[in-house]
């Protein structure tokens, strides 16, 4: 399979001031194939969140190369990065991070607004996505505000939002961390289904049960990869 995302000796050093520097990533290299389902695991402070931010083009590496879909991230300016995130990466966060002022469907439309998708088209697609992620009574719930939805419902809306511009990869940061067990299962099932239909998924988690869902587990410790195993 072709490499969708490739990291070559990526380092990230945080300058904490007063000459204190923290090396969060100490030269990480791996590649992610298209259509794969990867879990990046590690304890807190292992550097997995930093890695997610760098893969998600939210932050820049101190050194090393990140190549996504054949494009070197470090050559892009802020504007190009924003456009790139919009088209290529779908984020799912632990705390859902839906915009409180907007209804569920408007949240799903948001990335499409940034992409310039016409109103009627994006509303239609947003509704399809809400149905795809299995939001109950989508015709009604779509017009609820996030605070009127349960945690599991919010996370499904967030996944629909991540899928809005049909991104090359879904980056999920502890997506089940804030959910009760029954919801937790449903969210993981959605990721599994998405992966089966060909979507590339990367989940960052500290939870081995979540990690077991993936076909490959990359384990980080202290800013370096200590284990990279394919479990399926």
């Amino acid at each position: 399979m072709a490499a969708l995302l490739e990291l070559k000796n990526v380092k990230k050093i945080y300058d904490m001031g007063r000459d204190i520097q923290v090396e969060a990533l100490k030269g990480v290299s791996f590649s992610i194939e298209e259509g794969s389902y990867t879990a990046i695991m590690g304890h807190s402070g292992s550097g997995k969140s930093t890695l997610l931010q760098i893969m998600g083009c939210l932050d820049r590496a101190t050194s090393g190369d990140i190549i996504i879909k054949g494009t070197a991230v470090k050559d892009m300016n802020d504007f190009q990065l924003a456009k790139f995130r919009n088209k290529t990466i779908g984020f799912v966060f632990q705390s859902f991070n839906l915009i409180g002022n907007l209804t569920a469907i408007e949240n799903v439309e948001l990335p499409m607004i940034y992409a310039g998708v016409p109103r009627a088209e994006r509303r239609k697609r947003a509704m399809e996505l809400l149905k795809l992620v299995g939001l109950e009574e989508p015709e009604e719930r779509a017009f609820h505000r996030p605070n009127q939805l349960s945690g599991g419902q919010q996370q499904r809306v967030a996944i629909a939002r991540a899928l809005a511009n049909d991104p090359a990869v879904i980056l999920a940061d502890e997506p089940t961390g804030n959910l009760a067990t029954n919801q937790w299962r449903r969210i993981l099932d959605i990721f599994k289904r998405l992966n089966e239909s060909g979507k590339t998924i990367i989940i960052v988690t500290h939870d081995p049960l979540v990690g077991q869902e993936a076909t490959r587990i990359i384990t980080l410790e202290d800013g370096a990869i200590i284990k990279d195993e394919r479990i399926r």
């Binding site: 931010q53 995130r85 919009n86 991070n97």
Partner: protein
């Protein structure tokens, strides 16, 4: 379009805060428009009043000593002479009529009433030059002059003071000089006219010039003021120049006399009211700036509160420019709506001011430029004071913004 809708939503979320941040601009806009409206109204009022004098009238008064080092300016009496009147009559081609006035304040007594009145000695043509209409009785005539008659025409206000509802015509009043009293028979009452340049005929007792000169106001050939009329409104300024030249020839000092025409007063008054209007509007404009600072404050708070939202939007692919525009639209939305409300309310306030101040003769005229100006300034304030918070929002690092709780 979505940006506008979103701005509306996020402003609608905290209505009280939005309302309060609008309030400063609303008040500022009202203050600016109403201040300018009061200025415009006052100018129109004063202009109308001065114009009622007739544009041909020229009044020559003695100058003032310069008020200097704490000394009050004092009118120079007995500077103007009867010879000046003759000179003007003969040598100023653009002057139609010219007549001297004697003027002094006396105690005037009618039965038990005793009041201070300006007694004016004037020739009969004064009535036509100043356009003083009669209410009852008759005006003074040449016979009164020839016989030094003890007769008087009384101003409207002073007639009420002395006589109440009684008809003053035919009554006798006594003018007290301190050492003796001069009886005067009222032969006519003037209509109410309001102030005429340096005169207020409503508070005057007008007697024949010769009577005044002989019995009450002895200035030894000096006169209190000189009243002239130009041949036409167009030649009024020429007439003023001619009079100035004639007086300068004799007195050699421009501080000793003043030649006042309606045009000069109009321009002085409009300059004065313009300055006052500008001052009022500037003070009002400061309140708009204060309102702008309030908006900036609120926007800064809003940017901080919504740090996480900014991070999420950036992760979803919002460019920095887009984030900036979103916040800018919000602050401008506040000021545009506030400006519109302010313009609307200023009409209401103007109506209330007009109603409350109608007794004071205060007119309020809302002018288009003041509306355009204050609305434009409020929009500009939204842009200016919204720019920095919006810039801060757009400069946030996505990672740090997302981490913000």
């Amino acid at each position: 379009m979505e940006i506008l809708l979103e701005a509306f939503r996020s402003l609608g979320k905290d209505k009280l805060r939005t309302f309060l941040s609008m309030l400063g601009i609303v008040i500022g806009v009202i203050a600016v428009i109403v201040a300018i409206a009061i200025g415009a109204g006052t100018t129109a009022n004063v202009t109308a009043r001065i114009s009622s004098l007739g544009s041909n009238v020229i009044i020559i008064t003695p100058g003032f000593t310069g008020g200097f080092g704490g000394r009050a300016a004092v009118a120079l009496t007995s500077v103007l002479q009867e010879t000046d009147v003759q000179n003007i009559q003969q040598m100023a081609p653009d002057v139609a009529d010219v007549t001297p006035i004697l003027q002094k304040s006396f105690n005037v007594i009618y039965q038990a009433t005793n009041t201070v009145v300006t007694v004016v000695g004037a020739y009969p043509d004064t009535f036509s030059i100043l356009d003083l209409p009669l209410q009852s009785g008759r005006l003074l005539n040449q016979n009164d002059e020839n016989s030094d008659a003890n007769v008087a025409v009384i101003g409207n206000t002073i007639a009420t003071t002395l006589f109440g509802n009684e008809d003053p015509v035919g009554q006798t009043v006594y003018v007290s000089t301190g050492s003796f009293q001069v009886p005067l028979t009222i032969v006519g009452e003037l209509q109410q006219t309001g102030s005429k340049l340096t005169f207020n005929p409503d508070n005057m007792l007008i007697i024949p010039y010769t009577t005044a000169a002989a019995k009450l106001i002895q200035l030894n050939g000096g006169v209190s003021q000189i009243i002239a009329s130009a041949k036409s409104a167009q030649t009024a300024l020429n007439a003023v120049d001619e009079i100035n030249n004639i007086l300068y020839m004799r007195l050699q000092n421009t501080n000793q006399y003043r030649v006042i025409s309606q045009n000069q007063i109009l321009s002085t008054v409009s300059q004065t009211t313009d300055v006052l209007t500008l001052l009022l509007a500037s003070i009002a404009a400061i309140s708009m700036v204060v309102g702008g600072i309030g908006i900036m404050n609120i926007m800064l708070v809003s940017v901080t509160e919504r740090t996480k939202e900014i991070g999420v939007k950036m992760a979803m692919g919002a460019t920095r420019r887009r984030i900036m525009v979103e916040f800018l639209v919000e602050s401008m939305f506040i000021t545009i709506v506030a400006g519109a409300i302010g313009v609307g309310l200023s009409f209401l306030i103007a109506a209330i001011v007009t109603y409350l101040a109608s007794g004071l003769g205060l007119t309020v005229i809302i002018t288009w430029p003041s509306i355009v100006l204050s609305f434009g300034v409020s929009v500009a304030i939204g842009l200016f004071f919204g720019l920095y918070p919006a810039y801060l929002a757009s400069k946030k690092s996505p990672v740090e913004a997302l981490r913000y709780e």
